[in-house]
């Protein structure tokens, strides 16, 4: 078998926040694959027309982009990377809406005055 070609990406592609990192490390340790990774794949469908699918995997496959962020490996295929760019992954233990969450704080840079408003 030939060695998989892997590109190493930076946290500009995806950054894992503290909460998510801790949670992922626990999950990977309990599965007995401390060197495993979180795969994020962008798929069509869902109510929004775009969904992120997450999976725990052994490691990167051929042509994957590997990002090490906050002590966790994240692998993304090149097509999905186009969509993921600049996202942050966080985890909330909230019972109602708990779980992993994605946000894209980089886009906020272009925003103007920025006084927040909540109805």
């Amino acid at each position: 078998m030939t060695e998989p070609r892997i590109t190493v990406g930076t946290e500009k592609l995806i950054a894992v926040e503290d909460g998510a990192s801790k949670q992922l490390r626990t999950l990977l340790d309990r599965q007995g694959r401390p060197n495993g990774a979180l795969r994020i794949k962008v798929i069509g469908g869902g109510c929004s027309g775009l969904q992120y699918q997450m999976d725990l995997v052994d490691g990167p496959l051929d042509r994957d982009i590997l990002v090490e962020s906050n002590g966790v490996n994240v692998v993304i295929d090149p097509k999905s990377a186009l969509f993921v760019g600049g996202s942050e992954l966080d985890f909330s233990a909230d019972l109602q809406h708990g779980g992993f969450k994605v946000s894209n704080p980089n886009a906020v840079v272009t925003c103007s005055c920025g006084e927040s408003f909540a109805a």
Binding site: S48, Q51, F83, S87, V102, T110, F117
Partner: protein, 594 residues
């Protein structure tokens, strides 16, 4: 935290345990990092050993394998294999070990106890509740025995789940449409099962099931051993004596089988097999496939029977999910493809899918499973147009839905009493390059420039419906709410991809245009104010200060005629700095006048 519920695949040859945690179904590994535990128990004079530890002991008379085959079986109806069987006190069977008879329930309860222990070790807490898988064909007695084994191991068995149902759960309901039918093809070490399930209202129902409890990967290993025998020109006995190097041969046959899934030729090699003599025979995939032909025919016949039982044609099956270790064998996959006339789905981990499905079922019962691993996100940014035709992003692309973001805006002119809210979607900096989702006018109490306060909030619910709320915060406090049904997010993948690509392609010119517009707005605000102030109180400044302001003013005017964002931005900054003293004096003057 709620009490954990674990999912267990109690297999004939291997078992595994898992749980749903943080939304992920995961299998829990033992101290050695192994997620699969061999379903074997060794009964020794000083206690029992399970799994890999049991395999390290001398097996004779003490090692019980495949106890699952004897679960709920009546004495007299049993099939011999492994340790001799005797009748137990309730008419069932028991394994005759050197430590006395051990019933299949006892053996299974030891296995389940070990899986419970592994779960408790990984979760660092007590586990008392479980979901356990059983073959779809298990009768009531067999199911009761499995439940009893769980209870003897200290587990409350909340549910017994059919193995194909578990496999289908692992495959994912989300991949199947409404009332979809799926075939699960499960070729394990010693058993073969095919089931056709129907998903109705989120619940899988087994329509038909069939199989052979004496057909599995072990039979393929036996084919390899036969080929080796022929190749080495050996008599059968040397290879069949289990007390000799039987285990070494079986392990090597297994390795050869696995490698033949990806290679055309593999050398079967057992060093120093016969004293100094090593055993080396090349086995080809073609040889294996022709040798396995009788096995494949049996599988094919079973598949066709199940289709008939389900009253279905092959093309009515929506997906063929392959599980079980030996579903990796290419010839087996080809067979499934031929029978069901569609490419089988091999996306599931063959050895782990059933346990993962059991974990998902456990998670459904415990309320921890919510398919949260599929995050709905906004494919493109959502925002509104602001002064100068700019896109002001409120909800950035890739934000998890549902979400809600609001921002405060103000009026651009004195006496302005209404504004048009244009809701945009896209990644470009200028409003005109994005897609307009809707627009409406909001009236607010007339106020001097920059004094009105209008809150605009965009919220996207779970169904992707966008709601735009605009409120005159200082004035009437009234809300205008506009709902944009699904149009907000109902865009096709190519359109999204194109938008993203274009935003990257035009990134520099777009950003230049935004910075220019923002600087232009600032200049248009600054220039008239500076001119007025110079006339009113310019005299208090030194000649040089006045000259610097005029130079800066001219630089801004010049830059406005060009299109270089950075030039304009720097000119505006220079003017801003040069007029600092002027601004300070104006403020002082204003204070005195009050």
């Amino acid at each position: 935290m709620a009490e954990p519920v674990i999912g267990i695949d109690l297999g004939t040859t291997y078992s595994a345990v898992g749980i749903v945690e943080a939304g992920f179904p995961i299998l829990l590994a033992d101290e050695g990092g192994e997620r699969l535990t061999p379903s074997v128990v060794w009964f020794g004079p000083e206690g029992v050993k399970v799994g890999r530890a049991a395999l390290r002991e001398a097996p004779a008379g003490r090692l019980v394998r495949s106890a699952k085959r004897q679960m709920g079986v009546r004495f007299g109806e049993h099939v011999e294999g492994g340790l001799p069987l005797v009748g137990d006190t309730h008419g069932g069977v028991a394994f005759q070990t050197l430590e006395g008879p051990r019933t299949p329930v006892e053996v299974s309860s030891v296995l389940l106890g070990e899986l419970k222990r592994i779960a408790e070790y990984r979760l660092e807490r007590e586990v008392r509740k479980a979901v356990i898988t059983v073959p779809a064909y298990f009768n009531n007695a067999q199911r009761e025995s499995t439940k009893q084994a769980g209870e003897e191991a200290g587990l409350e068995v909340l549910r017994l789940v059919a193995e194909p149902t578990a496999a289908a759960l692992a495959y994912g309901m989300n991949k199947l449409g409404e009332s979809a039918r799926v075939a699960v093809f499960d070729l394990g070490g010693g058993t073969f099962d095919v089931s056709i399930l129907e998903l109705r209202d989120g619940i899988f129902e087994v329509l038909a099931t069939g199989g052979d409890t004496r057909l599995g990967g072990d039979d393929i290993d036996a084919v390899i051993l036969d080929l080796v025998k022929q190749g080495a020109g050996m008599s059968g006995s040397a290879l069949e004596d289990p007390e000799a190097d039987g285990d070494r041969l079986i392990q090597e046959a297994e390795r050869v089988k696995r490698e033949l899934s990806t290679k055309d030729h593999v050398v079967f090699r057992v060093p120093f097999y016969d004293g100094a003599q090593s055993l080396e025979v090349e086995v080809s995939r073609a040889d294996l496939e022709s040798g396995a032909e009788p096995l494949l025919s049996r599988m094919e016949r079973i598949c066709r029977e199940v289709l008939v039982d389900a009253g279905m044609e092959p093309d009515e099956v929506g997906a063929v999910v392959m599980v079980g270790g030996s579903s990796r064998v290419p010839a087996v996959q080809k067979l499934a493809e031929a029978v069901f006339q569609r490419e089988p789905d091999c996306s599931q981990h063959p050895d782990e899918a059933v346990a993962l499905g059991a974990s998902i079922q456990a998670g459904i019962i415990a309320g921890t499973w919510r398919e949260v691993l599929l995050l709905d996100v906004t494919p493109l940014s959502l925002g509104i147009e602001t002064l100068g035709g700019l896109m002001n992003v409120l909800i950035p692309r890739n934000t998890t839905i549902p979400c809600k973001v609001g921002e405060m805006f103000t009026n651009a002119r004195d006496g302005q009493d209404s504004m048009r809210v244009r809701v945009l979607q896209g990644e470009r900096e200028l409003a005109r390059d994005n897609w307009e989702l809707g627009k409406f006018d909001l009236s607010f109490r007339s106020a001097p420039r920059g004094k009105a306060r209008v809150g605009v909030q965009l919220s996207l619910d779970e169904n992707g419906i966008l709601e735009v709320l605009a409120r005159d915060v200082e004035g009437t406090g009234e809300d205008v709410i506009v709902r944009i049904e699904s149009a907000a997010v109902d865009v096709n993948e190519e359109a999204v991809e194109q938008m993203v690509e274009e935003s990257v392609e035009h990134a520099f010119e777009d950003m230049n245009a935004r910075v220019f517009t923002e600087a232009q707005l600032k200049a248009e605000e600054l220039l008239p104010a500076v001119r007025v102030a110079l006339v009113e109180i310019g005299s208090i400044l030194s000649e040089e200060e006045q000259e610097e302001i005029r130079l800066a003013e001219r630089a801004v005017e010049h830059a406005l005629t060009g299109s270089e964002a950075n030039v304009l931005k720097r000119a505006v900054e220079r003017l801003d700095q040069a007029t600092e003293v002027l601004a300070a004096r104006l403020v002082e003057k204003a204070i005195k006048e009050v």
